[in-house]
């Protein structure tokens, strides 16, 4: 072992000369500022959109929320048809997506063997990766005609007396929107529910199995009650996605401001009216009214999202980043 006299002192002196003074506060400030930006974005979204819709708010008044007349030529802007359309399509789609999505989640976590669960899980995640506009394209040219010929016409012929199946079955309309939305909401519900179910302790299942419960009974007694609030959260998250979904719906719903119970009727949603009419909106007031709808949409989805996250966090804290991806 060679001794280099003075070597330690040399390095110690060098190090003491390289002592950084301001690096830490600067870096801390930088990352703090970045996260402040993210937080400020939410406030900024609300403020800017609110500011842009002031003209509309002043002119339209409360009738904006309560009336069903949308007549840009005569400067009447009432949003009820869009609110109705959004609630109707997103609500129906959510029910369907919950039925299928929670089923998928249970299947993936509790029933499927690993070799099956992995590819199926991946395929469900892939559903979320396909761009909305591609679903729209598929909806127009494949889904709508198929729905018309094989679902709507038979339903109309047999059950046409019911309000849901009245009207003219042409494919483009509420039903197509509901189906497309269901497909798009499904991965959100399925992926988040899967994470929530996976977070239920094994001991819950074992307790039920040890009582002699069947597989389904174990799920029903040991797993679902424990995961309930998380699954509800998954559903609400799916609702937020459905409410905010724009392109695919715009392309298949028909874009007519009518309030109808019929699945065959054309409709309109808040998001799709903004997307569809923005470029035609030549007057200030027209644009501002569309932005007012945007403001409403934003506030509603913010609220829904916040509630959903809180519910999911109670069950599966920290696992929500996957739903950000889904």
């Amino acid at each position: 072992m060679s001794v280099v006299p003075g070597q330690p002192d040399r390095i110690r002196t060098l190090l003491s000369r390289h002592r950084p003074r301001y690096g830490e506060p600067i870096f801390r400030g930088l990352v703090g500022l970045a996260s402040l930006t993210v937080v400020a974005l939410i406030a900024g979204l609300i403020l800017v959109i609110a500011q842009q819709s002031l003209t509309g708010i002043a002119h339209n008044g409360l009738a904006f929320l309560g009336g069903s007349d949308w007549d840009p030529v005569h400067q009447v802007f009432q949003a009820l048809p869009f609110i109705y359309g959004t609630v109707f399509t997103a609500g129906t789609a959510l029910v369907l997506a919950m039925l299928i999505g929670v089923g998928v989640a249970i299947f993936l976590v509790d029933l499927a063997p690993a070799w099956l669960a992995r590819p199926v899980g991946l395929m469900v995640e892939m559903l979320a990766a396909i761009p909305s506009v591609v679903y729209g394209l598929w909806g127009i040219f494949v889904l709508a005609p198929w729905l018309r010929d094989f679902v709507e016409v038979p339903l109309h012929d047999t059950l046409g007396f019911l309000p849901f199946f009245s009207g003219n079955p042409i494919g483009i309309g509420n039903l197509a929107a509901v189906v497309v939305l269901t497909i798009m909401v499904l991965p959100t519900v399925a992926v988040v529910s899967r994470d929530v179910l996976a977070a239920v302790p094994i001991s819950q299942r074992e307790a039920a199995l040890a009582l002699g419960a069947t597989r389904w009974e174990t799920i029903r007694i040991g797993v679902l009650p424990y995961a309930r609030s998380g699954i509800v959260g998954a559903g609400i998250l799916g609702l937020a996605r459905g409410v905010g979904e724009t392109m695919a719906v715009t392309m298949v719903i028909g874009n007519a401001p009518v309030i109808s119970l019929s699945l065959f009727s054309q409709g309109y949603t808040m998001a799709s009216v903004i997307a569809n009419e923005f470029s035609e909106a030549t007057t200030n007031l027209y644009r501002s009214s569309l932005l007012e709808i945007g403001l409403l949409l934003l506030m509603v989805t913010l609220l829904i999202n916040a509630v959903a996250r809180l519910l999911i966090w109670r069950v599966a804290y920290g696992s929500t980043s996957r739903s950000v991806l889904a």
């Binding site: 060679s2 006299p5 070597q7 330690p8 002192d9 390095i11 110690r12 060098l14 390289h18």
Partner: protein, 295 residues
């Protein structure tokens, strides 16, 4: 440079304690003759209390780690050995909610004094952990000189010099000289631990702390690490935590024995020269513990 500082191992008894069956290191008496390469500094711990949140885990610990000597901390699991050693280079406070009261003096001045930058203290007091933890994305070379490079020292020649020297002192040079560019994680556990030691000594600290540095290693690697400690004593003050009493008796000059009190906090039962602790302890608790009669 080779002058013997006052209070170095010279005060140890010259008798080898034959009461220690498994002792296979140097006989205690011969340690004093190991050449002193560089005078080190002493670490004084005074009335030290350590807390995790509201929970006190160390109560009133006082001892002095002699310069150019190995001080072992022993005691049952959970008595606060790791906590104590982490208080010595201000690593304890890295844990959220962790807090220290009392004094730790490095070469006479308090490391907890207001205005003292923990970063500087950690440069002066190096640390080796229980599990080898080389930086995963860095090569062997970069691992060794990480402390210098990340402090902003770029002098290539100096870095080369330091890397070779540190690896040699960590007894790893011959094994890695041809693969300095390969990732540090690709070495065996024992080699990784010596790499971590090389990394710690590359910044030329004055004190080296080791928390059970060999407990995750096989016997051969353990032996290498122990030999290493023995030679490092020539330049550094070393504090080592160990679970293994034979190890403590083999490598250390002084021993601190901690145990858990009724209040759940660890406290110092006895501190003395290793020979005394292992052959002639003053406290009943110590005797019970080293003879294995302790729970």
């Amino acid at each position: 440079m080779t002058a013997m500082t006052d209070g170095s191992s010279s005060s140890l008894p010259a008798v080898a304690p034959d009461a220690l069956p498994l002792s296979r290191g140097l006989p205690l008496g011969e340690r004093a003759s190991a050449a002193l390469e560089h005078p080190a500094v002493q670490v004084e711990v005074g009335s030290l209390h350590a807390y995790y949140g509201r929970h006190r885990v160390l109560r009133d610990v006082t001892f002095t780690a002699r310069p150019n000597a190995v001080t072992a901390i022993i005691g049952p699991s959970g008595c606060g050995k790791s906590t104590l050693i982490r208080c010595l280079n201000r690593m304890h406070e890295v844990t959220p909610g962790a807090r220290v009261e009392g004094e730790v003096r490095l070469d006479g001045s308090s490391i907890y004094a207001p205005g003292i930058d923990p970063v500087v203290i950690r440069q002066r007091i190096g640390m080796v952990f229980q599990r080898p933890n080389p930086f995963p994305t860095m090569s062997i070379f970069d691992n060794v000189v990480a402390g210098l490079k990340l402090a902003g020292i770029r002098d290539r020649q100096l870095l080369d010099e330091v890397a070779e020297r540190s690896l040699q002192r960590a007894a790893l040079w011959d094994e890695v000289r041809d693969k300095l560019k390969s990732p540090g994680g690709a070495l065996s556990g024992g080699q990784q631990q010596r790499l971590c030691i090389a990394r710690a000594i590359a910044v030329e600290p004055e004190v080296i702390l080791m928390d059970e540095p060999a407990s995750a290693l096989d016997p051969i690697s353990t032996l290498k690490i122990e030999e290493l400690m023995d030679s490092l004593r020539a330049s550094y003050t070393i504090v080592i935590v160990t679970h293994n009493m034979q190890q403590a008796s083999r490598v250390s000059d002084q021993t601190a024995f901690l145990t858990v009190g009724d209040d759940g906090a660890g406290y110092l039962v006895e501190f003395d020269d290793t020979a005394t602790i292992f052959t002639n302890p003053r406290q009943r608790l110590t005797e019970d513990y080293i003879s294995g009669r302790f729970g």
